[in-house]
């Protein structure tokens, strides 16, 4: 356990050294600049659009970190040959993989938490500067606590993507890993189309394969409650719980597969 914590701590420190914080500064600047511009452009939809922008930016920045840092977790150590020094210590290959994953997972969760706080600060500005009458037009209050649900599921989605990236990087090249991780992300968001492909294709075989892919791949659409939260549509605790549970099973599956593949990998 201690070995995993040490590896995870190393990843977290590395991520700070690699200036992930720049992404956060960029996020905060985009939000602030947008908040001043939008009031002029959007016919009174500024709070909705700030929420949309904050959630989307958090998701996009997190996705970049999850894909590129997730793939670099193993490949960098192998390319730099620093893996030999690591594995010479009392750290098993499985501990190495799990530690690497947890380190980036903590980084991502901290990122999402900081972005959540930044969005609330900008929304607080709108809450305080908007006259009472205009607030009645808002579907949900500016400082709606339900936004945390959307951020929480964004974090869960990023943890799934990180696990996919890590798994793929244990056996394929960085370029192919990026392409395949992005493909998983896209397929994960095409769930409904895959499930109902029989509506648009005549081939029953193809429709059956698509339905199979739908059930095998993680359904990322289920983790997307951004629109619901912004429009004050209730997101139940059961939805949160079961979506997170399903995602965590995928993470466990991918980590187990990663440790198995990495255990057999010839590092010489």
């Amino acid at each position: 356990m201690r070995a995993i914590a040490i590896v995870a701590g190393g990843v977290f420190r590395d991520s700070i050294r690699e200036r992930i914080a720049y992404g956060l500064v960029f996020f905060a600047l985009v939000l602030m600049a947008a908040s001043f511009l939008l009031a002029q452009l959007t016919a009174g939809q500024d709070v909705k659009i700030i929420k949309d922008l904050g959630l989307a930016a958090s998701s996009v920045i997190g996705l970049f970190i999850a894909v590129f840092f997730g793939i670099g977790l193993v490949t960098k150590e192998v390319d730099r040959r620093s893996i030999y020094a690591l594995l010479a210590k009392p750290v098993t290959r499985s501990q190495f993989i799990v530690g690497k994953y947890l380190g980036l997972a903590v980084t991502l969760v901290v990122n999402v938490a900081v972005m959540t706080a930044a969005l609330y600060v900008v929304l607080a500005y709108f809450e305080w500067t908007t006259p009472g009458g205009a607030k009645e037009a808002w579907e949900a209050p500016a400082l709606d606590p339900a936004l945390i649900k959307a951020f929480a599921l964004i974090a869960v989605e990023l943890l799934v993507i990180t696990a996919v990236a890590l798994f793929l990087s244990t056996f394929s090249s960085p370029f192919l890993s990026v392409a395949l991780t992005v493909a998983v992300y896209i397929i994960g968001h095409f769930g409904d189309d895959l499930k109902h492909l029989d509506n648009i294709v005549e081939s029953k075989t193809l429709a059956t394969i698509a339905r199979g892919v739908y059930y095998v791949m993680p359904n990322l659409e289920r983790l997307d409650v951004k629109s619901a939260v912004v429009h004050a549509v209730p997101v139940t605790g059961a939805h949160m719980l079961f979506s997170a549970l399903s995602a965590s099973l995928y993470v466990a599956l991918l980590l187990t597969a990663s440790t198995l593949v990495f255990a057999r990998r010839d590092l010489k």
């Binding site: 009174g44 949309d52 989307a56 037009a137 990322l220 912004v230 429009h231």
Partner: protein, 293 residues
């Protein structure tokens, strides 16, 4: 090292200076800014991969900018053709985008050239909203209003108001309005009540502004009725139509040339004696008497 810094500064300044120098001198071949890159709303929804709401916001901003730009343009042939596709994509990407349906329908229905003058598209947008959010009584209400105000079809409008009244939580004044439409064919008083409701309780400042404008248009309609009678009076006395308001003032029938509630002077057609709001007035155009959509 100092030389490199110097080179960096010189290159940066040269690059910017070249851009500035070329500005306006070389035409850049570009596609029309008004053409949406993707015209199929379902395809657009798939391409956005979970970021559909932020793209809906982008399209909403484009729709508002497009409408504003077209409305304010000095082009005699204003073309609002892209407004409905932009609103269609917006509401497909974010089917719960309330203001896009309500304000979008107002912009589509507004009489040409200050609006698209297309009540069919306005109703189609609201019907899409009804499918996405059947709990919103405002959409059938707005459809009824548009049919009544722009198409002057009180019977169809009454049906929409009755449909709105059936939605749980709908206000109780919808049924009397529908009854008034059916019995009185939609009097000016009924229209005033509807505009007043929008001006007071519209969900957003833009809707309230539309309500206040509608009330001013109603006042203008009433004033035009009076002015029309004054013009007829002039004709009876003088045996001819007046050529300008000055003649009517000189005849003692008015104290000064009349202005509409928005502050623009009324026009008087010397050939037919028809009084109307000026095309430059914010109230232009008034609904056409007995016209369809």
């Amino acid at each position: 090292m100092a030389a490199r810094w110097m080179a960096l500064i010189v290159l940066a300044l040269s690059a910017v200076a070249t851009q500035v120098a070329l500005e306006g001198r070389i035409a850049t071949p570009t596609a029309s800014a008004t053409v949406p890159w993707v015209q199929s709303p379902p395809l657009m929804r798939r391409l956005t991969l979970g970021w559909n709401t932020i793209w809906a916001d982008v399209y909403w901003i484009r729709a508002v900018q497009y409408f504003g730009g077209t409305r304010l343009s000095r082009n005699a042939e204003k073309n609002y053709d892209r407004l409905y596709p932009l609103l269609d994509i917006t509401t497909t990407l974010d089917p719960r985008f309330n203001i896009a349906y309500r304000l979008g329908a107002i912009l589509l229905a507004e009489g040409y050239p200050n609006g698209a003058g297309n009540t069919d598209q306005a109703i189609a947008l609201l019907e899409k909203g009804m499918r996405a959010m059947p709990e919103k009584w405002q959409y059938p209400h707005d459809a009824g209003f548009i049919v009544y105000w722009w198409r002057r079809d009180p019977a169809t409008a009454a049906r929409w108001f009755l449909q709105a009244e059936k939605v749980p939580g709908a206000p109780n004044w919808l049924r009397p309005v529908a009854a008034s439409m059916l019995t009185q064919g939609g009097s000016r008083e009924t229209a005033r009540e509807l505009w007043l409701e929008l001006a007071r309780n519209g969900e957003h400042e833009w809707l309230q502004r539309a309500g206040r404008r509608g009330l001013m248009q109603l006042d203008a309609e009433a004033q035009i009725d009076v002015l029309q009678r004054i013009v007829e009076q002039f004709q009876t006395h003088a045996g001819r139509l007046p050529t300008s308001w000055d003649e009517v003032v000189a005849a003692g029938l008015l104290r000064q040339p009349p202005v509409d509630p928005a502050g623009s002077g009324y026009t008087l057609d010397p050939a037919s004696g028809t009084v109307d709001v000026a095309t430059s007035s914010p109230l232009y155009p008034l609904r056409q008497k007995g016209s369809g959509g």
